[in-house]
């Protein structure tokens, strides 16, 4: 859906993006992560045809976004990190204007506005002025504006910053629903916790280079290890100690009732571990792979030094179907 090829972009004295390539599959939600100044916003802005790259190209649904930015904008929606609204217009006027500005014909604009309001649960606010909305509602209105023309791709830069927990949960639900409706979504943030709820993939950018792009969970798997969760039917304080006795096993967290461990991704090793624990009279209730948290995955990746290895060999390109 989004084909990024060899993007390079410079600021004075600094390379902001260095030969970044990736293919983002349709119907995915990609978490674009990296430290501040890594190049996330620059990448998004170039993908949104708001800036031109020095070299490389971005194709969305087969259209080079820099050949015809206006046509590309009719296929994508973008919400910048510092977005604004026309505070003196009503929600309905904001949506109607945006629909017309995105090329929706006049006769369909009202219907498009109504549909976007319904998708973002704003129907009861249509007559309210944008300036009177709360931060969470403003965010929803901004997203409604970004998707009013039913784009195939939606890109959001730090969408949850400043939102309270309730609004963040609502935002996650909205994004999942949009993905289910057929959109491919890219969300940039340096707050990993907020991305965890809805992302299917993670793209790590550091120092302007693409370090990794993979389904979440894949990062640890590429290191040959898997994260497992073990629950006891009968609590035992000895669980942690027993696990730590096992070779080539890392205890991520544990208490008397459960433990999260990391070990080799080999069924025989898993069977051996179970046999050992049952032999020690632990009452195992469940033993299954644990979905690797986004934050953990990111930190694991960074700590593993894989980032340096990849960058030392040149920029990584990612293609995940």
């Amino acid at each position: 859906m989004i084909d990024i090829q060899h993007l390079t972009y410079d600021y004075p004295g600094r390379r902001a993006l260095d030969n970044v390539s990736a293919q983002i599959a349709p119907l995915t939600i990609t978490a674009l992560v990296g430290p501040n100044g890594a190049g996330k916003s620059t990448l998004l802005r170039i993908c949104a045809a708001l800036d031109r790259p020095f070299a490389g190209s971005v194709t969305i649904d087969g259209l080079d976004v820099h050949d015809d930015p206006r046509a590309a904008h009719q296929r994508m929606g973008f919400l910048p990190d510092f977005f604004g609204l026309y505070d003196d217009l009503t929600v309905q006027q904001c949506l109607h204007y945006r629909a017309r500005a995105q090329g929706v014909v006049s006769s369909s604009a009202a219907a498009a506005a109504q549909r976007a309001a319904e998708r973002l649960d704003l129907t009861d606010r249509l007559k309210d002025k944008a300036g009177t909305l709360s931060r969470g509602l403003r965010q929803r209105l901004a997203i409604a504006q970004a998707i009013i023309h039913d784009p195939k791709v939606l890109m959001l830069d730090e969408p949850a910053s400043g939102l309270d927990p309730e609004a963040r949960i609502a935002l996650a639900a909205v994004l999942r629903r949009l993905r289910d409706d057929g959109m491919t979504i890219v969300v940039s943030s340096h707050i990993l916790a907020e991305l965890e709820d809805y992302s299917t993939h993670m793209m790590i950018i550091r120092d302007g280079r693409l370090v990794d792009y993979a389904p979440i969970g894949h990062v640890a798997q590429t290191l040959g290890r898997v994260r497992l969760r073990l629950d006891l039917a009968d609590r035992s304080d000895a669980l942690g100690g027993a696990l730590r006795q096992v070779a080539d096993l890392t205890v991520v967290s544990d208490d008397a009732g459960h433990a999260i461990i990391e070990m080799a991704d080999e069924p025989l090793a898993h069977a051996a571990l179970l046999k050992t624990l049952i032999g020690q009279d632990f009452k195992i209730a469940s033993f299954a792979p644990d979905r690797l948290g986004l934050q953990d995955a990111y930190l694991t990746h960074v700590k593993s030094g894989a980032a340096q290895k990849v960058t030392a060999g040149g920029s990584a390109g990612g293609s995940v179907q």
């Binding site: 410079d10 600021y11 004075p12 004295g13 600094r14 390379r15 260095d18 949104a48 045809a49 708001l50 800036d51 031109r52 020095f54 820099h66 930015p69 206006r70 046509a71 904008h73 009719q74 929606g77 973008f78 910048p80 510092f82 977005f83 604004g84 609204l85 026309y86 505070d87 003196d88 217009l89 006027q93 204007y97 945006r98 017309r100 500005a101 995105q102 090329g103 006049s106 901004a142 504006q145 970004a146 023309h149 120092d207 280079r209 960058t311």
Partner: protein
């Protein structure tokens, strides 16, 4: 018109029944107050009405034109607008007419009431129509200049400050004052005819057509600026066309009976120098983009390289070529050969130094550009142009006086174009400054580039 969503949005923001009614009532009261007593002369009321129009369209309209963009930037809605499917042309006229819609409503209402007073007094309809058309075109030009300057400031990332918004407004106001006070006075009270390339035209019609043409250029320039802002590739053909047009226009005005070709050519050279500085200050001096342009050139991609070509460089090259032609055409002697022109006045003052002054002048323009470029490639690039202008003004005025006072006039060639009578002393300082500054500029420019060694090691 309502098919343009940007125009419609502006109307939503500016027009309400209350505001429309308020304008009608206020102007109705003013009209009644002026006419009811019958004591005020028609000319007084007409002048007052036109001045009121000038204030509305000049002061208020230009402010609205600047704010049409500045409010988007400060309200963080500009990026969203850039992400829309609106074309550059829709954006331009949607903002220009939509953003100033209410001042136009009030201004045209005021103009209409003024016309009623004049018609009642028996004024010729053609004269009224001429003045109205002239006024409306002046307003359209002023608003286009304002929005254009605002767009230029936005490209230089300087539109967030209210001072800069006011600066854009002042530029529009200058354009408005020039046409509404300068040109119209000349058209109505100056010579009846204007000679252009030897042909004679009625002055009012010439000024009106000139205003319409420059207004069209301003709107077209706005469209090109908006295209650039929307990330479309812009080849510099539009600027080249404007450069050619404005130089030919100036040459036409200089082509008075009895002129030589050298005198005619002097006008475009003078205009060229003004446009060199103007385009240099208007454009962002982005070292990264210059490098991209060179890289495209090295790859043989001329089409891409042209999109990065600075307009000031084109202007400087064209002006230098014209100046060299002028130097070749200038007679080696005297006033009689040039006729009674501004060049003759210049000649009387500087005599045979004219050729030298032109040559060394072109070198000093290069020096100024390199100096400003050096500041722009430094750490304080946001303030580089203003600081640079200040330094150059100091060099051209107080410093020149000090040098002349302390060391004598023959040392003036150190700081400004001056024929000291010695070729080395006349050209040497300018050449040395150009070379030294070029070396520094190159160093700073290279320092901005991402060092290959750093990239390789990463």
């Amino acid at each position: 018109m309502m098919g343009n969503p940007e125009f419609t949005r502006n109307l939503w923001l500016q027009f309400s029944w209350q505001r429309v009614l308020a304008a009608v009532i206020i102007f109705g009261i003013i009209y009644y107050a002026g006419t009811a007593s019958g004591e005020l002369a028609t000319s007084t009321m007409a002048t007052a009405g036109r001045w009121l129009f000038n204030i509305i369209i000049g002061l208020w309209g230009t402010r609205r034109a600047a704010d049409a963009l500045a409010e988007e930037v400060s309200g963080n809605t500009w990026e969203t607008q850039r992400m829309s499917g609106l074309s550059a042309w829709q954006m331009v006229w949607g903002k220009l007419l939509g953003g100033t819609a209410y001042p136009w409503f009030c201004g045209l209402l005021c103009l209409a009431l003024t016309d009623v007073i004049l018609i009642q007094a028996g004024e010729r309809l053609s004269a009224i129509a001429f003045f109205d058309l002239y006024s409306v075109l002046s307003g359209a030009l002023a608003h286009a200049v304002t929005l254009g300057v605002a767009l230029l400031l936005l490209r230089k990332a300087q539109l967030r400050r209210r001072l800069m918004v006011t600066f854009a407004q002042i530029c529009g106001l200058i354009a408005f004052a020039n046409t509404m006070i300068g040109d119209i006075t000349a058209a109505l009270h100056g010579p009846d005819i204007v000679a252009w390339f030897g042909a004679v035209y009625p002055a009012p019609m010439f000024y009106l057509v000139s205003l319409a043409v420059f207004c069209a250029w301003a709107w077209f320039g706005l469209y090109r600026l908006m295209r650039a802002e929307l990330q479309y590739s812009n080849w510099p053909w539009a600027w080249c066309a404007f450069l050619a047009f404005s130089m030919i226009y100036a040459a036409g005005l200089a082509d008075q009976p009895g002129q030589t070709i050298a005198a005619i050519l002097g006008a475009p050279v003078g205009l060229g120098v003004v446009l060199v500085y103007g385009s240099f200050l208007a454009e962002p001096k982005d070292g990264v983009r210059y490098r991209w342009g060179l890289a495209a050139l090295r790859q043989g991609n001329l089409a891409k390289a042209l999109t990065f070509l600075p307009l000031w460089l084109i202007t400087y090259v064209v002006t230098t070529i014209l100046a060299l032609v002028l130097i070749a055409l200038l007679p080696s002697q005297p006033t009689a050969e040039i006729g009674q022109t501004w060049l003759a006045v210049w000649w009387q003052q500087y005599g045979p130094h004219t050729r030298i002054m032109l040559a060394v002048g072109i070198l000093f323009v290069a020096r100024d550009l390199l100096f400003l470029l050096l500041l722009n490639f430094g750490q304080w690039r946001q303030r580089a142009d203003i600081a640079g202008i200040l330094y150059l003004l100091i060099a051209y005025f107080p410093l020149a006086w000090i040098v002349a006072f302390v060391g004598g006039p023959h040392l003036l060639s150190l700081v400004l174009p001056y024929d000291s009578g010695n070729v080395v002393l006349t050209f040497g300082p300018a050449l040395v400054q150009v070379i030294v500054l070029a070396v520094f500029v190159r160093q700073r420019w290279r320092a901005q580039a991402v060092p290959d060694a750093v990239l390789a090691a990463a």
